[in-house]
Symmetry: C2
């Protein structure tokens, strides 16, 4: 079978063996934002050309209102069978996996599309109860019990980092450079101090102004500050991390500094649609 | 005498009577970002043309590294006499008022340029000990005791609102419309719930997605969320507000919802350089 992760900005396809092993992978910058409704079928055909498999499971924003077909969210708690039961077909043999929704303790809704498939992919590697973090533009923190996703919370961390870097006064003092582990650690430590995030953000500027933070170190400091706030708001004693290796490494470093035991799971396993 | 508030994006001049009363006011979009070093003198001359006064006191970013002349910050605690002692002249009769700096409890520096003059302007209206909030792009919270500014904290609130509205996914769901007091109140309430600011920001999107928040109400909700976080991080039982009337009104509304007693001070009084 073929697993497809079709997101906002990119298309990724995986040819999978019966045991879930990835036989072949392809990707293209054909995210749903770059497409018209009538293009989806042709782009899929083109991208998986030559692969003989006749079952295609697609997850991600392809199932959103702006995607190929809007597939309603499955409400948590939900496991593989609840998710499979609400898949929708867009063509014979081609299915969209629904995303998940939940309501937080204060009644505010939350959603994911795509991460549910990664969570199912790693479920076998998790203990009976686990808190799983999937870092990204919108980081997800999911509570998983015996393969069922009980609920989750989303954090705006990655997008906030990007808009501050590209469009704020803080970005104007930043220079490109290699990641700076010491500055990242300072940001993690700062996230626990008085004043809260809105005050800490202004401190990025003043530390630069006073020569305490070089332009090349400032991006790592900001990253540590934001990830530190996220970890303090959501992590418990032990977490599992799934995602792109460089992001997982940053979150693991932050967790270690906060005394949180973090286990990184194989992102290849998580990419599999089971 | 003439008081000038010369900031990043605008120039404002006030002709003042001996008792501090504003006799005449002028403004122009000639902030320091729009200028070269050699322009300052000519622009000032042009803007105050026809005013007979021979003493000019200027505050704001005009005294920063990017301004007419960099005037070092005066470290807190500082009152009118410490500030006056470190004014610097750029031309006979034309002085730049220094900004203030302080170090927060964790050792991180903070700065203001311009707000110190507003604080001196309202000092007579304050009780012996006061917590004064000056809302804006970078809100300032100052602890003032008997006319001396003991220390202060800056919050990135206004700039964060602007970059999120103009450059993020949240901005894309927003529509222009009149301020929505109910949505603002919902944002203030939300700011005290579990998950912290990074989680609350994603909720702006999901509440829109689920039809709980109209595009025209979303800007007010986001504003309430951010101002709520700022107030919870910094306010005490009683605060004083100084600034633009519409911003002061929002902060006063937020304070009231949180059971904080807020007193708005006359912004005209605060504009005077005494």
């Amino acid at each position: 079978m073929i697993g497809v992760d079709w997101g906002t900005t990119s298309f990724r396809a995986y040819r999978l063996a019966a045991d879930g092993k990835v036989l072949e992978a392809r990707s293209a910058p054909r995210g749903i934002l770059s497409m018209e409704k009538q293009d989806f079928s042709a782009v899929l055909k083109e991208q998986i050309a030559g692969w003989p498999d006749d079952l295609v499971l697609m997850c991600g924003m392809v199932g959103s209102r702006q995607g190929w077909k809007e597939v309603p969210y499955v409400n948590c708690p939900a496991g593989p069978s609840e998710i499979a039961a609400q898949m929708e077909s867009v063509r014979p043999g081609v299915w969209i996996v629904p995303g998940l929704s939940c309501i937080d303790a204060s009644g505010v809704p939350d959603v994911m599309r795509g991460e549910e498939t990664q969570l199912i992919g790693v479920a076998d590697s998790l203990p009976a109860e686990a808190l799983v973090c999937l870092p990204g533009t919108h980081s997800k923190w999911a509570r998983v019990r015996s393969g069922t996703i009980e609920g989750f919370s989303t954090f705006f961390t990655g997008e906030l980092y990007a808009v501050l870097r590209d469009h704020s006064l803080l970005g104007r003092m930043m220079e490109n450079g290699p990641p700076d582990a010491a500055a990242f650690s300072e940001g993690i430590a700062r996230s626990g101090e008085d004043g809260g995030l809105l005050h800490h953000l202004f401190g990025v500027r003043t530390r630069g102004l006073f020569g305490e933070l070089r332009g090349q170190a400032a991006p790592s400091y900001l990253s540590g500050l934001l990830i530190g706030h996220e970890l303090r708001a959501s992590a418990r004693d032990r977490i599992h991390l799934v995602g792109a290796p460089e992001l997982v490494a940053l979150y693991a470093q932050g967790a270690e500094l906060l005394g949180i035991e973090a286990t990184a799971l194989d992102p290849q396993a998580a990419a599999r649609v089971r």
